[in-house]
Structures are given as structure tokens and as C-alpha cells.
């Protein structure tokens, strides 16, 4: 597997890491394989736009970098885009081949994002 400089940089210097004061939605997902836990917090506008996205947690380079890259990517986009995103999208954003054994690491943050959005919509009665 290819650990690109791009990916390692996001791991060592994560963007969008932290917490949000009174988030509109939050979710925690873990990956038992790595012992990774990624928590996600979102502030979502009335029109369904992700205004702020933050993650927290510890894990391997793939899961941490993926979380950081995804938060950065989805900030400013609509929740619909999170719902539409899939593994292919994550791989394109990471820009590397992911071996099957590491796929779960790469996708744990996306799972958390989707869970946060779906909880948010349920709460709002959508």
C-alpha cells in the first residue's frame, strides 16, 4: 500500500480536528480491527449545508487522514452529498489504492458522517 506524502501530511498535521460548541449532529464510529474510534461533529444550516465539520479520535494513518480529508471536503457542501458519497469517493479523495484489509480504516469516518446526518434528519422529522 502506498503511503503518499499527501496522506501522511494529513495524518501528522490533521485539519478540521477538534470539537464544535453545540453541534447540530454528532456520531461515533469505531473500527474494531484497528481499535480506531472516530467521532464526528457537524454544524448544519437550516438549508442543509454543512457549515462546520470536525473529527476527533485516534487511529492509524489511513483512518485519521481519511477523517481529516473528509471533514475538509464536506465542509460547505450539503448533507445530501454525504448521503451520496461511497467508498469510491473516499478512495478518490485519498488518492491512493486501499488494500481490502484497510478499507474499513479508510471508511470509518464516512460511516460516522453518514450516521450523524441520518440522526440529524430523524431528529428533525425528515
Amino acid at each position: 500500500m502506498d503511503y503518499s506524502e499527501y496522506l501522511v501530511d494529513y495524518y501528522l498535521h490533521p485539519r478540521n480536528k477538534g470539537k464544535i460548541d453545540k453541534p447540530s449532529a454528532r456520531a461515533v464510529k469505531s473500527n474494531p480491527l484497528c481499535g480506531d474510534t472516530v467521532s464526528v461533529e457537524l454544524r448544519i444550516s437550516k438549508t442543509g449545508k454543512v457549515e462546520t465539520a470536525r473529527f476527533n479520535g485516534t487511529g492509524c494513518a489511513i483512518s485519521s487522514a481519511s477523517a481529516s480529508i473528509l471533514m475538509e471536503h464536506f465542509e460547505g457542501k450539503s448533507t445530501r452529498e454525504i448521503k451520496r458519497a461511497d467508498g469510491k469517493k473516499v478512495k478518490a479523495l485519498l488518492g491512493i489504492e486501499i488494500s481490502p484489509a484497510r478499507e474499513k480504516c479508510a471508511l470509518v469516518a464516512l460511516d460516522a458522517l453518514k450516521m450523524a446526518v441520518s440522526d440529524y434528519e430523524k431528529k428533525r422529522g425528515k
Binding site: 500500500m1 503511503y3 501528522l12 484497528c34 494513518a61 489511513i62
Partner: protein, 402 residues
């Protein structure tokens, strides 16, 4: 075999011949020598038939080979009789067999005492056995059992079950000494998955009532494991799985059980696999278990030395004295996740294991949320593969330098 020549040994294993890969994941499963592959191939090509029932020559030959494998394995571990060798799927199934049958014999009364360094297969079956469950803690990074706690708890336990050699810490437990602390009327079970493949083990000297091990960790195929038990104890145990071959006669009112060891072997067994394991044992015996042990000890010792000298951020789990541990070295490196280490090593054709190694409580105890990285050696590994490992680790450290 005249001498233990590494080059000759490596040539016996097609998958690793010629340094195609530094395979250092032997505690998970080992590679298979040509003789085992050929033996299994000849079963399927030349005498494939079911055992114990056919009145025809193929079945008779298959039965002879199947039972012959059992005899070889019995001799290999010093069992009194082949009746004491029950074929199972693996160590896990052997331990499950005991966790389902011993509590029945005891009417679910009493406590099962396990340890904090066990593989999940020697924890979870007992947590779900219907008996009370307790464990002996480990001392910490030194990876030894808390002997005071063992002495205190073993005297009150009806079943004591522990690993002979830990698959994470490497620790070889002083089982003969510990066994003397277990009351005579209680049962002592040893998980020998990491000892029988790697060092001389003689059940006559261990002091255990039952031991369990897997074929695939000792040059044999997957799908075949062994439960050894003292004959009179196996005789008293109720059956585990019910069905064909484990009965002597059946009516619509009930059944009588077959004699040992077949009472515990319901249904068509893994015949080719058992025959393959028999051949694996022949192979290991030819090399010599004492030699294998010495070879692994040297590799583990060399690996720990290079780690401590050249990877200052690495910390080895378990005893640092190679005499006290098996041929595996698990370590953690500050700032680099085990999965990333093994991912990077894989780029250099080095296979190691990363994570909890199916023994999560050890990682919890040592506060390693991502587990550790483990290099485990076998007879065909050599010091140059440790060199490759160290080079790979240096590259991983460099990549993740903050």
C-alpha cells in the same frame, strides 16, 4: 537428517523459497513443506474414501493412514495411547469441546480460572460455559503471570486453563510448577497452540489433564487440530458433537457412544488434513524440536537486540530474556500505529501481524489501543529477515517522523 541446514529447510517450503517474501507471521499460521502437500495430494488422487465404514480397499487404506497419523501425533507429544488424541478443527474447537463437556460433568459447579494473557479462544468459551469465570492478571509489560494471584486462586478453581506460551507476550509459563498448585480433583488445561509447534512438549511431563493445539501452526494444513486428554478423563466426559461415527449403536430410543477417541469425532472427519498433519509431525521430528526451539530463540534474541539498539521508540511486550519466551516478538513503536507498520512492511514483502492478535485484554492492560506489531519466527526464517524487518521499521519511522 545430517545437520540442520537453513538453506535445505527453506527449500522444502515452496512459498518462501528464494527469499520471495520474509514471512514473519508464523504464530498466525506457518507455511507447508512439500512433503505435506504431496502427502495430501496423494490422498485425494490415490485413496480418497471415507474412513471407518467402507468394506473396500480405498476406505481401508484411508482408515489406515488416518489412524496412522493419530499414532504419529500421539508419539510426537508423548501420549500413552492414540486413544488420547482427539482430532478437532483447531485449538479453538478443542477448547470449546472442553468448555461444553467439563461443566456438564461438574454440574456447572465451581469456578473456571483463566489468565489475562490468553488468546480469545481460552477466554470466551469459558465466559459462556455456565460456570463462574475468574482470571489471573499479568504483571504488566514484563508479561508474566502474577504468581501470588495464581497461587491464591488456583486452589479454589475446579478448572484451571492457561496458555503454555503466549501468542502476544511470548511468555512461556512455568506450567509444571503452576500445575502443582492446582488441586488433584480439579482439571488443568493447557493451550499449547504456540508451544507444540515450536519446542519439545511431552504430555507425560507437563502435568496437564488436557492440552489443545492446531495443525496449521506446525507445518500442517488448516482444519485439523488436536485435543489430548488423559484416557480415563476423556472416558468420563460426555460427548461434544452428536451424529455418525461417534456412536456404537443407535435405536429410536437412544444411542450408545463409540469408544475413544471416536466418541468425540462426529461425522466425517477432516481425513486429508489429519493425514497431512501426520506428515507434518514426521517432518518436524526429522528436523528435531530441540533444534527448532534453539533456532527460534536465537532469532527472537537477535530481533530484540536490534530493536533495542536501533529503534529507540520500540518497546517489546513480554519478558526480555529469550529463554523465557517463544520465538515471537511483539512490540509497539511510539507514534506509529501497528497497522501502518505492517502496511509499510508489506510494501517491502515482509509479512507481520498487527493488532490485538486475538488477545485483546493484553493490549488493554498495556494501554495499547491499536495493539502491537508481531514478528513470529519458525524453522525456515533466518537473521537476514530480521535485518529486513529492522530496515523496514526504520523506513516507517522516517515516514511518520513528526
Amino acid at each position: 537428517m545430517a545437520g540442520f541446514s537453513l538453506a535445505n529447510v527453506q527449500r522444502d517450503f515452496p512459498l518462501i523459497t528464494g527469499g520471495k517474501i520474509a514471512y514473519l507471521d508464523n504464530a498466525a499460521t506457518t507455511q507447508k513443506p512439500v512433503s505435506v502437500l504431496e502427502k495430501m495430494d496423494s490422498f485425494y488422487r490415490e485413496y480418497n474414501a471415507n474412513v471407518h465404514r467402507g468394506i473396500h480397499r480405498l476406505s481401508e487404506r484411508a482408515t489406515d493412514e488416518y489412524e496412522g497419523a493419530r499414532e504419529k501425533i500421539a508419539r510426537f507429544i508423548g501420549a500413552k495411547s492414540p486413544k488420547e488424541i482427539v482430532f478437532t478443527k483447531n485449538t479453538t474447537e478443542s477448547l470449546n469441546l472442553l468448555s461444553r463437556t467439563l461443566p456438564k460433568l461438574l454440574g456447572n459447579r465451581g469456578t473456571v480460572l483463566s489468565t489475562e494473557m490468553e488468546h480469545h479462544s481460552n477466554i470466551v468459551p469459558w465466559q459462556n460455559s455456565g460456570m463462574k469465570f475468574d482470571y489471573v492478571p499479568i504483571t504488566g509489560w514484563g508479561g508474566e503471570l502474577d504468581l501470588d494471584s495464581f497461587a491464591l486462586k488456583a486452589g479454589k478453581a475446579s478448572i484451571v486453563t492457561l496458555t503454555h506460551a503466549s501468542n502476544v507476550l511470548g511468555t512461556i509459563n512455568p506450567v509444571e510448577k503452576l500445575g502443582r498448585l492446582v488441586p488433584k480433583e480439579s482439571f488443568l488445561i493447557l493451550d499449547c497452540a504456540q508451544s507444540v509447534p515450536n519446542m519439545p512438549v511431552n504430555v507425560g511431563k507437563l502435568g496437564a489433564d488436557f492440552i489443545a493445539f492446531s495443525g496449521h501452526k506446525m507445518c500442517g494444513p488448516t482444519g485439523i487440530g488436536v485435543l489430548w486428554g488423559k484416557e480415563e478423563l476423556l472416558e468420563n466426559l460426555p460427548p461434544f458433537l452428536y451424529g455418525g461415527d461417534m456412536i456404537s449403536s443407535v435405536s429410536m430410543k437412544g444411542a450408545e457412544w463409540n469408544s475413544l477417541p471416536w466418541k468425540f469425532e462426529a461425522g466425517t472427519p477432516p481425513i486429508g488434513e489429519a493425514i497431512g498433519l501426520g506428515e507434518a509431525v514426521t517432518y518436524l521430528k526429522r528436523i528435531g524440536m530441540e533444534r527448532i526451539r534453539t533456532h527460534e530463540e536465537k532469532l527472537a534474541s537477535y530481533c530484540m537486540k536490534r530493536l533495542s539498539e536501533e529503534i529507540p521508540n520500540a518497546r517489546v511486550l513480554g519478558p526480555l530474556d529469550a529463554k523465557k519466551r517463544g520465538g515471537l516478538v511483539a512490540f509497539s513503536i511510539d507514534g506509529v500505529h501497528p497497522h501502518d507498520i505492517s502496511g509499510i512492511l508489506d510494501n517491502f514483502n515482509i509479512a507481520v501481524r498487527a493488532g490485538f492478535h486475538c488477545a485483546e485484554p493484553v493490549s488493554k492492560k498495556l494501554s495499547l489501543p491499536g495493539g502491537s506489531t508481531r514478528a513470529s519466527f519458525y524453522l525456515y526464517n533466518d537473521p537476514s529477515e530480521v535485518d529486513l524487518l529492522i530496515d523496514g521499521l526504520k523506513k516507517a519511522e522516517f515516514l511518520f517522523k513528526r
